[in-house]
Symmetry: none
Subunit: 192 residues, 4 copies
DNA sequence: GATGAATGAGGTTTCATTCAT
DNA sequence: TATGAATGAAACCTCATTCAT
């Protein structure tokens, strides 16, 4: 991937993440990437495709960042907490990933639904891994429906992060929200 | 409110809920309401205002429907479960309310943000009431951060419902997802 | 058909006829019709459809004008000569009809081919009628392949007219060309 | 002319002939020639010039092919018939020549009109030769306006060939059309 | 109140042309 | 010679909004 292509995809992710698909114009992307409008079309079929590429891009970065966290020797609940912390930071300037995993994009771009389903599957992968680790360590309940629970945890976490961003809560409120989320979540999955 | 106005607002809610703000045209709304395009403008300043009115409308219907549920003599966890069931049904054809409460609209219409904050506050009200009831009944943990937890529960529930709708999961998958959600939630808030 | 629609279709025919499909922009048509760009789209699906409508329009005018000529009491060769004269005048400011009948549009707009075939069939109708009249009158050869010959005559005539227009021949040259055409044609079809 | 230049001009003729001037992109030509887009510009000033060169190229090939046919010892009407047969075959994959001679290009590229007039003059040359031969042989009418008639014959022939190609008639229909054309033409020019 | 024809800014996409390598 | 990434003007089309009836 040449540097121009990277610039374009990054700019696209930034724009789409900030104001959404419809409100982002190809002109915006081109300007943000510092290239001419036509140049953007060298790296995508059309706007929808550009969006999908941007999402894919960000998701890969996120998955990579998360997979470094999973160390079988650490307690799983600790890892999960750390993941949560990172999610918040990540969503800070990459809201696209959260939108994807939370399902907010499917209604928007019905055409890319298929592509998104696949990405979403990748996205929950590491939560599944941590849950399984936790069960092996005996710290999480053995009878969890792992894939479903993983999805739920991920949603809780990401929606919380998005909500904080979108509704511009005060830091104190965000802190309370997160604490409540994790009390709920950890209590919920812990073995008794 | 004359019958035409009601028709317009209902049509608006239906359209916006089905395909979103940007993809709904004023023509669509007029057609769905069975009036001419100009007529729509008799009942709103502009598209954004129409949207906000539609959201408000639906939220009031929802809040009303929920408040009938809270009966101090029933166990709070039972009420909560019933609420969940209703949410899913409600979101089925009124996704706007869910979008509002989950924060998905704030990014979309920055101009109406303050209006939404207010509505959201109203929206959690009944969850707060049930949590407080449950604590009094001794079935929920006494040290819950009630407002924050209420918000989290509501998010979990609504995002789950939205996700099911948007991503067109199979009924079996939806069922699993919901079961996981409520195992997590009830375990999380129950007193030990 | 309201007056605006008529203005739009007329303007379209004028523009398309003068500079062709691709070189005519929707802005040109709007300007020529004295309306805004969006207005043009009130009366057509898209550019291609506008073109097809314009062609259809002109063809009907042409067919109407021709059908008044056919009077069974006049000698057929005289009628044919008169038709030729009219064709030239007609093509003068309605080249679309000639382009259609000569097949020049099919390569241009493959999507409308079907529509054009039908129109073309209508277009030759009156030449067929004159040939049949001439055979009954005994002035044309009885063994003519009437439909095929009609088409050929029409092509000769229209291509000649177009050529004169397009290549901007001098009047004298045009006159010679037409005389040659009709010597050929009338000799060719006359009974011996 | 190096082999690259030949490849470019041939590719251009093929593309322009198949889909027309406007619908052929410089990318198409480059791809068809198997070179990069920039390379095409080494052999032409711009798109219009490339088109004119391609036309010129094909016309020369055509004129050469036709001139071998004229043998004073053969009957002129036979030669003419043979020419017709060749025209059809030639137009099959070189429609540019036909378009040029029939005047279809003048409207398209007003800028090259004078260049085309000259080429067209060359193009009729061999028909003129055959007509003159036929008159000398006594098989064609002595009072023909030779240049004008030559042009008319050429038009009839080429438009017929083009029409067959463009409108995708069945072989049977094409055959009928051609027979009608030549009955008309030969009857028309034959001395009585 | 109600209508719907008309508007035109704004968005997406194409493609002839250039130029540094 | 040859390349192909980059450009940006220009084209098509949409739709929120207005206003005369």
């Amino acid at each position: 991937m040449g540097t121009t292509q990277i610039a374009v995809l990054d700019a696209a992710a930034r724009c789409f993440g900030r104001v959404g698909f419809k409100k982002t114009s190809m002109d915006d992307v081109a300007a943000a990437a510092g290239v001419a409008k036509g140049t953007v079309y060298l790296y995508c079929e059309n706007k929808q495709d550009l969006f999908a590429q941007a999402v894919e891009n960000e998701l890969h970065a996120w998955v990579d960042s998360m997979s470094t966290l999973i160390d079988p020797k650490r307690p799983a609940d600790e890892i999960l907490t750390e993941m949560a912390r990172r999610d918040v930071a990540f969503v800070e300037d990459r809201p696209l990933v959260a939108d994807l995993l939370v399902g907010a994009l499917d209604g928007l771009l019905p055409g890319s639904r298929h592509r998104f389903v696949e990405l979403r599957r990748k996205g929950v992968g590491h939560v599944v891994a941590v849950l399984e680790l936790g069960i092996r360590q005996g710290v999480f309940a053995a009878d969890l429906d792992v894939p479903a629970t993983a999805r739920v945890l991920q949603e809780m976490q990401l929606v919380g992060a998005l909500l904080a961003r979108r509704t511009q809560l005060s830091t104190a409120q965000v802190r309370r929200h997160q604490r409540a989320t994790w009390q709920l979540a950890l209590n919920g999955i812990r073995g008794r």
